[in-house]
Chain length 344, copies 2
């Protein structure tokens, strides 16, 4: 064999090897693209900009709460992953919420809102905490009186809902908040860049973690654009976690449907930005992502994931942190003589 | 007299009249400029931009509180005039603060901080609420452990305080917050534009209100760049307001100096943006600016201001609302395994 041919053969073998590795890499990406979807680069262009602007004010508006202290941002803090990073939130008079506050980021892509999916969309969701006695402790009537008392809000609602004969309403408050929250998306995570073809966006361990995340069965619940948030599953499908993590008093979706099958059923947690949103689970009792992954392997899949598998999956999960939204703090109108006063 | 001369005389008289009105207008402005000063157009250029950036994060950082719920912005809300617009703030476990939360806007121009001036500057002030058991309920040690647990904060402190061998410290936290808060100024109020020569920036009633504000004696305490905030005076100098407005249990600056002369002495409230910062007084018991002006006339000057005078003064006070600061909500670093957990 002549040197030229030897070289050519060597090159061919190298090329074949590279092609095979590339094929494997493409296979992993193809598989992933069949299961997940990147976050869109930009919010939906069907959003009404005037509603978004008004919604931004309302999201930061503490006067939606009876105390004038608590706003949406209190528990869905846009500086800390869209959540408040405590087990359960402190609401009116420091009462504790029943479940961990879910992130508002990318929530627009969930099939329904709240841990039990009891609100069909962000509009319906927004009305919940405002009225919840342990959260903002307010009433629709008082919210409307509050917003109607400020000429700047009257003008902003009129602009955002020009066809509505009564633009300043509790319903429109929720619609505007939904519009703003629909802009709170986190595109361009390293995982998304990888899905779109950038091989270098994830390292080998992270890709191995992705592989394990798929092959171990996590994707049965955690799939789609939000790696979850699309459907309901019993927590403790195979083995119930202990009472601290899955308190027996909270029967999840059963409270909504009153159907026995829905006992301890929850919406699969969306995992976007999960590295930013500890503590974990509806009970908010687990601070460590490694531990959360282990618990899920055990509870949902009946698998004792080993340390390497857990480490790989966590490495992968850290690649789904996207570009956090930038938001200018809104200027809120001053109260007037007719604005209802805060209550203690 | 020929028509030409007649015309000339008429013009002369008119011109004299205008000159006299202009002289009066200039006299009012000259007098005002001797007493007040406009807010600077821009924050001091001696501020360190890295400290400002870090301070912005810390100002919105709920993990400076033991509960991980309360940040500086909770009580000094930059969307609502730099204050929280409730009588007294709700702190840790919903405990009530002793006095109304003063605005952070233009606070850099006050002679000292807090209603009793017990902190000499914003740096010293920033350390107070963090440690106050009824406010953020934290300790310097725990704050340092918290900040040191996050690599992004370690890097940001290192950048902001490059010469400090131990950059992540409680003291430097306060310095960075001071730097950020020093940018929270509100220039270009209509009153400031008037002071600088724009006659049209204030209408006749507002100018009349300015005249009354000066001639009635309000300026004895409310002068300088912040229309107050420069010195200490007894509340109820002539006649004590009732116990609701001036609760006998709060002896003001006496608590600081233990000097009998300082009983019920407070720092004169700075009146910048006063239309945005109801309720009024250290007790936060008066919601209406008209009523506040009446009470002050009576308590401090022994004067029963009539409705016209009150209306004029309030019209003037509404011209001291400046351009509110625009602030991008900061991205805060995620907690780590070593970050101290929130306490209930």
């Amino acid at each position: 064999m002549q040197p030229f041919r030897k070289l050519a053969l060597g090159s061919l073998l190298l090329a074949l090897g590279a092609a095979s590795a590339a094929a494997n890499a493409d296979a992993l990406r193809d598989q992933a693209n069949g299961i997940f979807k990147p976050i869109p680069e930009k919010p939906s262009d069907t959003l009404n900009p005037d509603q978004v602007t008004l919604g931004r004010q309302l999201f930061f508006e503490p006067r939606l709460s009876a105390s004038h202290v608590i706003s949406c941002n209190t528990c869905h803090n846009i500086g800390t992953g869209g959540a408040d990073n405590v087990p359960t939130s402190s609401g009116h008079e420091w009462q504790k919420g029943a479940r961990n506050s879910p992130t508002v980021f990318n929530a627009v892509f969930n099939v329904a809102q709240f841990w039990d999916g009891r609100a069909k969309d962000l509009e319906e969701q927004a009305k919940g905490p405002v009225q919840n006695p342990v959260e903002m402790h307010n009433t629709p009537k008082n919210v409307e009186l509050t917003l109607q008392s400020m000429p700047e809000y009257v003008a902003a609602f009129g602009k955002a809902f020009p066809k509505d004969p009564q633009p300043v309403s509790f319903d429109n408050m929720a619609r505007a908040i939904q519009a703003f929250e629909s802009t709170l998306i986190t595109p361009d995570s390293r995982f998304d860049l990888y899905l779109k073809g950038d091989d270098k966006a994830m390292n080998e361990q992270e890709k191995k973690g992705l592989q394990t995340f798929m092959s171990a069965g996590c994707i049965a619940c955690h799939n789609g654009v939000n790696l979850g948030g699309q459907a309901y599953f019993p927590f403790g499908l195979v083995k119930k976690p202990d009472d601290k993590i899955l308190p027996s008093g909270d029967k999840g979706r059963f409270e909504v449907t009153k159907t026995e099958n829905d006992e301890y059923v929850f919406r699969a947690a969306p995992l976007r930005n999960v590295a930013l949103t500890a503590p974990y689970f509806h009970s908010g009792q687990v601070w460590n992502l490694d531990e959360a992954v282990k618990i899920m392997g055990n509870a949902q899949l009946g698998k004792q994931l080993n340390d390497e598998e857990v480490g790989d999956i966590v490495a992968f999960l850290k690649t789904v942190t996207g570009k956090q939204p930038t938001v200018e703090y809104p200027l809120l109108p001053p109260s007037t003589a007719t604005t209802p006063k805060p209550v203690d």
